[in-house]
Symmetry: D2
Subunit: 273 residues, 4 copies
């Protein structure tokens, strides 16, 4: 039977790097994944592993290449890794490096607090013709308690939802933006994050779609190095609790936060069509 | 800025159905997701919700449509839901219904044991031109303690892995196969699962890729209703523990099972090129 | 400041053992935790580690002791480990060994299917005066679709729950039973599990408490080697969906399964007061 | 068979409260659990529910009582709830209220960022004779990259760990402190958290136990309203990667962060013996 698309790699490579400058350290806390595509038909069909670099070697390489470079933006590590792997492996047609970075806040020179659940992300895709670089974030919890409506929507016989001009809008944002240049610079990550947060906070929202688009438009508008941005915004519903049964008023003050079911809104905004 | 690809929907719709025939019940335990693509530019750009069916309505519809149909294979429910949504929503160009089914074992007529972590899955993708139906499973833990080797692989300066003719091969299988006919029948799920298990058990494995391919080839070979199959097999590494430091022999008897890092092998096998 | 109760140990020790008898293997898949209590005040107050056996050594010991013994019931491994640690460490007053066992079903002589989410458990607590042994299980999903009521309960001004004579009762059972003799035998685990399942299935349930008690009473009644049993049964609520808004009847056929909030019922049943 | 200790309650009650003061809102995001102990033998043994307040009523009560009180510290809500339940239910001998609070950072008057994984916690235990109040936090990730040693420890035949004067110490801190007065005030939470962080950062650590004790001692020393503090500190091991195989030096710069196995250190520090 013909082998179709296929890939293999190593995921969950945990790398913590200390950059030591006397009594002031920096911590870089990464989870790296490596993925190869290429001509691996013999491995699948005939059990011939001669073109297969072990995933254990991928792991070793991540640590070694990281050590031989200065600490820097995660996109730079991803570019170096993808270049190494593509150069060294003729059977490989494309390499994807995905990195998630846990962010630690400094307590003092050598102590850190890391209790932020959102992560910085990067994904480098390299073919023989060149690389594309995507930067982003995942798990950023945000909530608006005003300036959020949902009304004027389509109704059918199964529609029972009430229109509202005042609801909580809450999501766990995942966003990823493509850089116009694969050479970077990649130092603008915090500025894009800030644009997304500011737009979310200021937006007069008619829906999750409406706010998602506004956030993407602002990111592209303010950051000319971005080519496109894609976002996923699960709608984490907050439902007002009916306390009228107990003779108690509840004018959008007490809500139950629900995990299931949840809306899921996804879109890509591009700089030009 | 131009809006690129976009979608929205409802995920995590939990539906448990009892089919009652006197003192003998059947339980169907589903988690359903609905996803729309279509012309929703006005919602994103202008906050105009007139084409947007609320995701809350999607949820209501899942329950109502399920109730009005006989219990059956999950693919049939997915086909009915996708047809309903596409017919009723002119702005929608494609509907995707994803269903995961928890499987309960009967204890007696009305009691059940559900402690299986693998799930049956289905994904129905419908456009105006027709539907495609994918069936599958996810989370199926399988382990071979013999007839599993990994040797003859490519080496470079970062390769330290020893060749082995005797290792544990363990994975959590996700597989999904496309049906030649979107009309089904869909009653062959358990037979395909059995083929995958039997092939995994019997295969003389040179690598995860080799066994994955053999499983896919057997599935297509024995089940003519399948057009293609894709599989993902994380390599859950089991490493022999070095007890020689304590003067104790350990000839592949005692292993440490590791979660991170893990290999990840994915491929699609097709009936014809 | 005075140091109160304190303990330390190693958790998450993953041990997979193959017992090889030619072409027929047995797999034992364990997660072990070791915990010491004792006189460790100097370590806390003065940073004096001279009495502190490293948790890394605990881990090594688990692998070494397991290798030097025949495969057997997990309780036996726990007894051996706890005896070793107490004998070798004079500062230690009590050792607790906790073991969770993933259960694999045989596919053939050397292949296995492990997709069961419930685990066998054991906990051995040993002091200088002797050991107590607890066996159990965790994560056993069970569901009754008949013979389950909840009525006649206490009401107050905040009570809105309707009485019902026909509801779904579903839980994820955790149970642990103490053996009359710390010497065992421990081969009765599957029989106790079967008693719990059979009683759950057959019981005419007035509440979760009522069924929990019946299960514990049956376990003590049928298995004289048990001294007491404790159980935790989260009430995984299944709520009938109101479809009357759409002109559709739903007589306890379509339910929404909910994760949050959940009831939590816990009790211990003893052989004698 | 005699019924031993038993309890029941509701867990996972998700309550989000908006305190609105014009264009400036405050968000209180809580997960509440209620647990009753008392005389519930008839429910267990005879299926007599007449003393059993439904857990659904517990949930309703949490929302209603929260609405009828001003927003305040979570300990105050817990005290009010426990008092209500104990007063209204003569069969109940003790009520435990557990609250976890997700903390949201303000983006502007009505928008918030919530991506902190550590949570504020409170547990109120009330019997007819009075209440005890415990405050705390859970999931606070902290890491020291200097001033952390582990040496001079006990060795046996299974000890292979090297002594070190320079290691990473990382943990996910859970701490809970008991208040001298159950009346509070409870406004000192952030100050205790700061004391724990400062002590962790400044401590010259000989072991996890040593640092844990120092943190507890500082908390009791600086905050006279605390009676005792208990802490759990899993040791999240960071292991230097051996790059010498590749001719690359790695002097404690590149580490692999591991999840399993992990040390677990727990202790209680009291104000007086």
């Amino acid at each position: 039977m013909p082998l179709g698309s296929n890939s293999y790699g190593k995921s969950g490579i945990r790398l913590v790097r200390l950059a030591r400058r006397g009594e002031r350290h920096d911590v870089s806390d990464l989870t790296v994944a490596v993925r190869f595509e290429g001509d691996f038909e013999a491995a699948h069909v005939a059990g011939d592993n001669s073109a297969v670099l072990p995933t254990d070697t991928m792991k070793n390489t991540v640590y070694a290449v990281a050590r031989e470079r200065p600490a820097g933006e995660i996109e730079e590590l991803g570019l170096a890794l993808s270049e190494h792997f593509l150069n060294e492996n003729p059977a490989v047609s494309s390499v994807e490096i995905s990195i998630e970075q846990r962010l630690w806040n400094r307590l003092d020179g050598t102590a850190f607090e890391g209790s932020r659940s959102d992560r910085r992300t990067a994904r480098i895709s390299r073919r023989r013709g060149g690389a594309t670089v995507e930067s982003g974030l995942t798990g950023l919890l945000i909530l608006k308690s005003a300036h959020s409506a949902f009304s004027g929507f389509r109704r059918d016989r199964y529609t029972t939802l009430a229109e509202t001009e005042d609801r909580i809008l809450a999501t766990s944002l995942t966003a990823a933006w493509t850089h116009a240049s694969p050479q970077g610079p990649f130092s603008g990550w915090a500025a894009v994050r800030r644009t997304l947060l500011e737009t979310f906070a200021a937006h007069d929202s008619a829906s999750v779609q409406h706010t998602l688009y506004a956030m993407g438009e602002a990111a592209l508008g303010r950051h000319p190095e971005l080519m496109q941005i894609r976002m996923a915004m699960p709608n984490k519903h907050h439902l007002p609790v009916d306390l009228s049964r107990f003779g108690i008023a509840n004018e959008n003050e007490i809500f139950v936060a629900t995990e299931e079911p949840y809306g899921l809104i996804e879109a890509t905004i591009t700089r030009e069509a």
